[in-house]
């Protein structure tokens, strides 16, 4: 019989010398629902040391909600350079959004908010943005009130050096904050890691998606993902009354000491996370019946999760297409979690932006997707501005969209657009530096100067939008928008300024942030060190 003997241990009256095992270390350090990663247990994890340091990151009451637009949104048909003669019927025969003959797009002022007649999207022309040059797609109509309140910044021509036109690579680069790197560790994961919040908060981050996105993945701490929050409880066998019995058994099972193996730390971590968040979420009303939030301005439901709650349930009041309900279920869950728990970062995603075929113009697939973006931002503002605001109000929330790249300037032979380079980011929130009023509204300047809510999208910008056949729309390879802003500068500014990270922390979250001139903690950096492209650095949106 094979046996294995330990070393003799004296059990007579000896002082006990306590050897701290790795498991003990974690147990001692992180009791109380702490959900820390156990992937590298052989040493004191560096994040645990950092967590002990004083820092404000994620502790200033401000929160972040990100929306990943998967497939690559066609920026040129979102924030339209309507006065650029190259934005025309020839380049985009089926996609072109016609200007309104009665509108002078060169006029500076507030963004038009066209009146609805018959249905919410009856206006079929480009909506004047009011910066003297640009327009919004008509399906983005509900962005106008947010824009005019100064709560929306749109950053055009966003990309990164050596832009990949592969969805797979480019989504990963946006999510990891490291272009052209094989690192698969999320930028928001690193934000949470750097904050040390996990030492005290079982739910610092949350994702509502089919699976945990790369942006929140990493080996040292566990972020909860829910594919459907209404299902986030245990079913129980034989009946739901046995739920608690099952839960108690799982809890007891979590405390059993087994020999360490490669995935056991992660399993323990996420099972603890499960038990902690199940209890936390049991107090939040995710059910459809509790989705009663409405817009004071219109009476419409804020979260159109069913046909009955799309506007007022009538065709005339529909604010989104009927394929949007799943997305808004997720968005509602993310909003509720940010509002009712101590979660600091929440993420949702919307897919379908890879519009190679039959993209549509004023109406169609892309128009429908954009309705969702606009209503999402509009609804979040209303939800967090009203009496529902609990753990976070609109003034302390930042909503940001990400998408892997923009799409080709010229439409393809399938009435769609192909993969290109620079794209568009929306940044919204009560603290966002957006449109500041009618005077000189089109001037994008330094702090304190009146400004529009569009950055890098007009000829008057720091890095001017050049119009015409050899202009900005053809900046790369004669086919693509070239970048004027690096996405890392926008995310970095949000993490630094909004979530209150120190410069060192931002550099840990976005490698090279302090040193690479094109990322630039400083405003208006200069030329990219990589390829000489003029780059703005941080764009002062929060």
């Amino acid at each position: 019989m094979k046996t294995n003997l330990s070393s003799p241990f004296p059990t007579h009256s000896l002082p006990c010398i306590n050897t701290i095992t790795r498991r003990d270390f974690l147990a001692r350090t992180l009791r109380g629902g702490a959900a820390l990663g156990l992937a590298a247990l052989t040493q004191v994890p560096p994040f645990a040391r950092r967590a002990l340091a004083e820092n404000n990151l994620g502790r200033n009451g401000k929160k972040l909600l990100f929306i990943f637009l998967r497939g690559a949104n066609d920026a040129l048909n979102s924030c339209i350079p309507i006065l650029d003669p190259s934005y025309n019927n020839t380049n985009r025969p089926n996609l072109f959004i016609p200007p309104d003959a009665a509108t002078n797009y060169a006029t500076a002022g507030a963004c038009d908010f066209p009146t609805a007649s018959g249905n919410q999207f009856s206006y079929a022309n480009a909506i004047r943005l009011g910066n003297g040059f640009s327009a919004l797609h008509p399906s983005l109509r509900f962005l106008a009130p947010v824009y005019n309140a100064g709560d929306l910044a749109m950053v055009h021509r966003v990309g990164y050096p050596r832009q990949s036109r592969s969805h797979f690579d480019s989504q990963a680069y946006w999510e990891t904050g490291e272009p052209n790197s094989v690192v698969r560790e999320g930028v928001f994961y690193r934000t949470l890691l750097e904050s040390g919040l996990y030492a005290t908060n079982p739910l610092a981050g949350i994702s509502i998606a089919s699976s945990l996105p790369t942006s929140l993945q990493g080996s040292q701490l566990a972020v909860t993902n829910l594919s459907d929050p209404t299902r986030y409880d245990l079913l129980g066998t034989p009946s739901p009354t046995a739920d608690q019995k099952l839960m108690n058994s799982i809890l007891a099972g979590n405390n059993v000491g087994f020999a360490d193996k490669r995935s056991r730390g992660l399993l323990t971590l996420q099972h603890e996370n499960l038990v902690n968040t199940l209890n936390l979420f049991s107090t939040i009303h995710f059910d459809e019946a509790d989705n009663t939030f409405t817009d004071p301005a219109t009476g419409f439901y804020l979260f159109p999760t069913t046909g009955m709650k799309n506007g007022l349930g009538t065709a005339a009041t529909n604010v989104v297409d009927n394929g949007a309900y799943g997305f808004f279920q997720g968005l509602k869950a993310a909003a509720l979690i940010l509002n009712k728990t101590d979660a600091v970062i929440a993420g949702v995603e919307m897919s379908g932006f890879d519009t190679h075929n039959n993209q549509g113009g004023v109406t169609g697939d892309h128009a429908d997707l954009q309705k969702r973006i606009a209503w999402a931002i509009y609804a979040l503002r209303q939800y967090f501005s009203g009496s529902e605001a609990d753990k976070v109000a609109w003034n302390n929330l930042c909503v940001v969209t990400l998408t892997e790249f923009g799409r080709t300037t010229i439409q393809n032979s399938n009435n769609g657009t192909d993969h290109a380079e620079a794209g568009l980011m929306w940044v919204a929130g009560g603290g966002v530096k957006g449109y500041s009023g009618p005077e000189n509204a089109y001037v994008k300047g330094t702090n304190g100067v009146r400004r529009s809510g569009l950055i890098a999208g007009a000829p008057g910008d720091t890095i001017p939008w050049v119009t015409g056949g050899s202009g900005s729309m053809f900046g790369v390879a004669g086919r693509y928008l070239s970048r004027a802003v690096d996405y890392r500068s926008v995310l970095g500014e949000i993490i630094r300024e909004h979530l209150d990270a120190t410069p060192t922390q931002v550099s840990n979250i976005i490698p090279g942030y302090a040193t690479e001139p094109e990322l630039g903690a400083q405003m208006m950096a200069n030329n990219s060190s990589v390829d000489g492209t003029p780059i703005m650095g941080e764009v002062d949106v929060v």
């Binding site: 094979k2 294995n4 070393s7 241990f9 006990c16 034989p238 799982i250 056991r264």
Partner: protein
């Protein structure tokens, strides 16, 4: 006594017998004892956990040097031993008897070379004699052509679905009226078919490898369907045609793997020639000569994901240089007789041209087709001047590659080729890539991650003195690859893994987390015993109809609550992965709190009784989940035939602990056993005692005994260890 003297007692543990396997398998060092006398007249020793500990004994010597005798005065509980304080001084040491090496290897192979243990396979391999041992099972599974496959008898859906595959008699898109027979299988059919085989197949390793290659050379059925929509197919036909592509591709891989000398090149070629791949990564629409810019998608993924691995021997310029070589590889609807002729013209056969509706749609087979007028005809050079890095060492750095005269240089020069000769470019590339050291390394790493653990990577320096067991195993795989004739045979590579000490010891056991497919299939298999030994349809104590795991009633994971178990647990839609990297193999790709909740819900649903007409509690809002069925009480009655045992909570707990966690050993499972006993002896709330021995034995749905046992099994399968393989 000071600490340095104390250190005398913290020496190396004693291994009292030699390992049973002659391959370097060793048990880890003994646990470390800590602790000391507690104040309340007790003392308590703590010890570090030991993998797969089967029996623990506390030994006592008084004084040191006297014989060690077992001290039965204390009790073990979750890494502690507690006893009344002894009168006088003594030394204690802990004796660990690990699980036997055959038992450990049984758990490893059934979880890694298969979709989990079944009661009958455990019974067989635990015998540890002749053909009935873990080692014998490895040999058997490694030669699937020698195993009689009986999966078709186990569930009629396998034959039913297989009757719907193929194109022979009813070419896609077929007559609009036909909904059975060849050519009518759709997305959910092929998904269910794969799941059924995972659960029922005798050739388990064959099934594991089928999913491995399908996932490695990933294609996306949804994109294929989209292609057919573009080709003016409507209704269910785009999905049927997409399914047919997947079936053709996976059938070729499965056939190839039944040959004794199948190679990586075989697999790669099948993928490259697959219409699903040609469409998926946009080669189908790529054009070569200027002003066209060839699509780089396939070239990028061929290098990054399918052969050499990311950043392993290539750069962006190689992707760009390779892209023109693949132009012209497209798909075409050809006559069925031309299915294997890449130069065939478009089909001219029309559906029912003379019938009352006079359909003029063309019919035939959508096959790989080389259109030379799209091909970039010029010469190309890939990997110009690139040599094998020194880290690979000989023979890789000292041998020549292809037409290169310089050792280590792996440049690939492709001459200008016109007309149909252009098709040779692609074959030149895959021939060149298939056996490059980078490919050998990357594929060996992927196979090691599949069968051993997640901690393998490319980039080892194979020439320096410092090695790890992981690096050594990758090197051994590469040696098997390189040494075979012809090169690149996969069976020797797999054998290198299965014979390694790393695989056979604790390093290969339970370090990985099951994928959603593995998790669901293993849950059913764990309880799947034949009631009468025939193993025919209808005699299993646990089964699925296949669709119960994979069928989504429309839409995405959030729509209408009808997504399949695999979708719920991790968005795993078989044959239908959108991203080209395939579903993850690593634990962090699957494990988060939300997905664990869905795993537990699946288990709860599986373990609920099937009865209860109109009840939605069983089906977890998805009626197809009704088709995952277990009867754990009948399993219990079968395996514990003595009535007194059926009332014995301890024996019932031990039965299911043994079936569900065969790799852990009794001592390691002791705390789980306490949880199980507590579960059996309390009521549904868990708050009030309700002795298991007092329940009337019954497997009637709703009876207290049935409920208690079903609850117990569901609970045990909801614990952490059941997620591992």
């Amino acid at each position: 006594m000071n600490t340095s003297n104390f250190g005398l007692f913290l020496g190396v543990g004693l291994l009292t017998t030699l390992p049973a396997l002659a391959d370097g398998y060793t048990d880890p060092a003994a646990p470390t004892l800590t602790g000391g006398p507690a104040s309340n007249a007790q003392h308590r020793l703590s010890f570090t956990p030991y993998p797969s500990a089967d029996v623990l004994r506390m030994l006592r010597s008084e004084p040191l040097g006297a014989p060690w005798i077992e001290d039965v005065s204390g009790v073990f509980s979750n890494l502690t031993w507690t006893a009344s304080a002894p009168a006088g001084n003594a030394f204690h040491r802990l004796e660990v008897q690990p699980l036997g090496s055959n038992a450990l290897l049984t758990a490893t192979v059934l979880n890694k070379l298969g979709y989990g243990p079944t009661p009958e396979l455990l019974d067989r391999l635990w015998q540890n004699s002749g053909n009935n041992s873990a080692a014998a099972w490895i040999a058997e599974q490694s030669a699937p052509e020698t195993i009689t496959e009986r999966a078709g008898l186990a569930h009629t859906n396998i034959a039913f679905i297989q009757s719907r595959f193929g194109t022979a008699t009813n070419p896609i898109p077929g007559s609009l009226a036909i909904n059975s027979g060849p050519g009518t299988a759709s997305t959910t059919d092929i998904q269910a078919w794969l799941a059924l085989n995972a659960v029922f197949a005798d050739r388990q390793l064959h099934e594991v490898l089928t999913q491995f290659w399908e996932n490695h050379f990933v294609t996306w059925m949804g994109k294929s369907a989209n292609f057919f929509i573009g080709a003016q197919y409507r209704d269910g036909f785009p999905q049927r045609a997409a399914c047919e592509w997947e079936w053709r591709e996976v059938s070729r891989w499965r056939e190839a793997m039944l040959r004794t000398n199948w190679t990586f090149y075989d697999m790669l070629r099948i993928s490259a020639e697959s219409p699903a791949m040609i469409t998926y990564l946009d080669t189908a629409t790529s054009r070569g000569n200027p002003p066209n810019i060839p699509n780089e998608n396939f070239s990028r993924e061929l290098l990054e994901l399918f052969t050499v691995g990311v950043d392993n021997g290539y750069d962006q310029t190689d992707i760009v240089a390779m892209a023109p070589c693949w132009t012209g590889w497209t798909v075409q609807l050809v006559n069925a007789t031309n299915a294997l002729n890449p130069f065939a013209p478009q089909s001219t056969v029309k559906i029912d041209p003379a019938g009352p509706n006079a359909f003029t749609n063309l019919v035939g087979v959508w096959a790989m087709n080389f259109m030379f007028n799209r091909h970039a005809t010029g010469a190309k050079t890939i990997f110009p001047g690139k040599t094998v890095p020194a880290r690979f060492g000989p023979p890789y750095t000292t041998k020549t590659y292809g037409a290169n005269a310089t050792a280590g240089l792996y440049e690939l020069v492709i001459p200008a080729r016109t007309t149909t000769n252009g098709i040779v470019d692609g074959y030149d590339i895959i021939t060149h890539l298939a056996d490059l050291p980078f490919t050998q390394e990357y594929m060996s790493v992927k196979l090691c991650r599949l069968f051993v653990h997640d901690g393998f990577a490319t980039g080892y320096n194979f020439t320096d003195a410092a090695t790890t067991p992981e690096e050594d195993l990758v090197r051994a795989c590469m040696a098997a690859w390189e040494g075979a004739s012809p090169k690149g045979q996969m069976r020797p590579v797999l054998t290198a893994i299965f014979n390694s000490a790393l695989f056979r010891g604790h390093g290969g056991n339970a370090h990985k987390v099951k994928t959603p497919l593995e998790f669901c299939a293993s849950a059913i298999r764990a309880l799947r015993q034949s009631t009468n030994g025939t193993g025919n349809h209808g005699t299993w104590l646990a089964y699925t109809d296949g669709y119960g795991l994979t069928f989504s009633q429309g839409g995405d994971a959030r729509s209408q609550g009808n997504a399949s178990a695999l979708m719920r647990i991790g968005g795993m839609s078989l044959f239908n992965r959108e991203a080209p990297d395939g579903y993850p193999e690593n634990a962090s790709g699957w494990v988060d709190a939300g997905s664990l909740a869905e795993r537990i819900r699946f288990i709860s649903s599986l373990c609920k009784p099937a009865a209860g007409t109109g009840s939605t509690s069983k089906n977890d809002q998805n009626t197809s989940l009704l088709s995952n069925v277990t009867d754990p009480v009948r399993l219990l009655l079968l395996r514990l035939p003595v009535v007194a045992d059926q009332h014995d909570a301890g024996k019932v707990a031990d039965l299911f602990l043994g079936l569900l966690f065969p790799g852990e050993g009794r001592a390691s499972l002791d705390a789980y056993r306490h949880i199980a006993l507590n579960y059996l002896n309390t009521d549904d709330t868990g708050n009030s005692p309700s002795l298991f021995s007092g329940l009337t034995i019954s497997n009637a749905s709703g009876s207290a005994y049935d409920n208690r046992v079903r609850g117990l099994v569901a609970m045990l399968m909801s614990l952490q260890r059941f997620h591992e393989q």
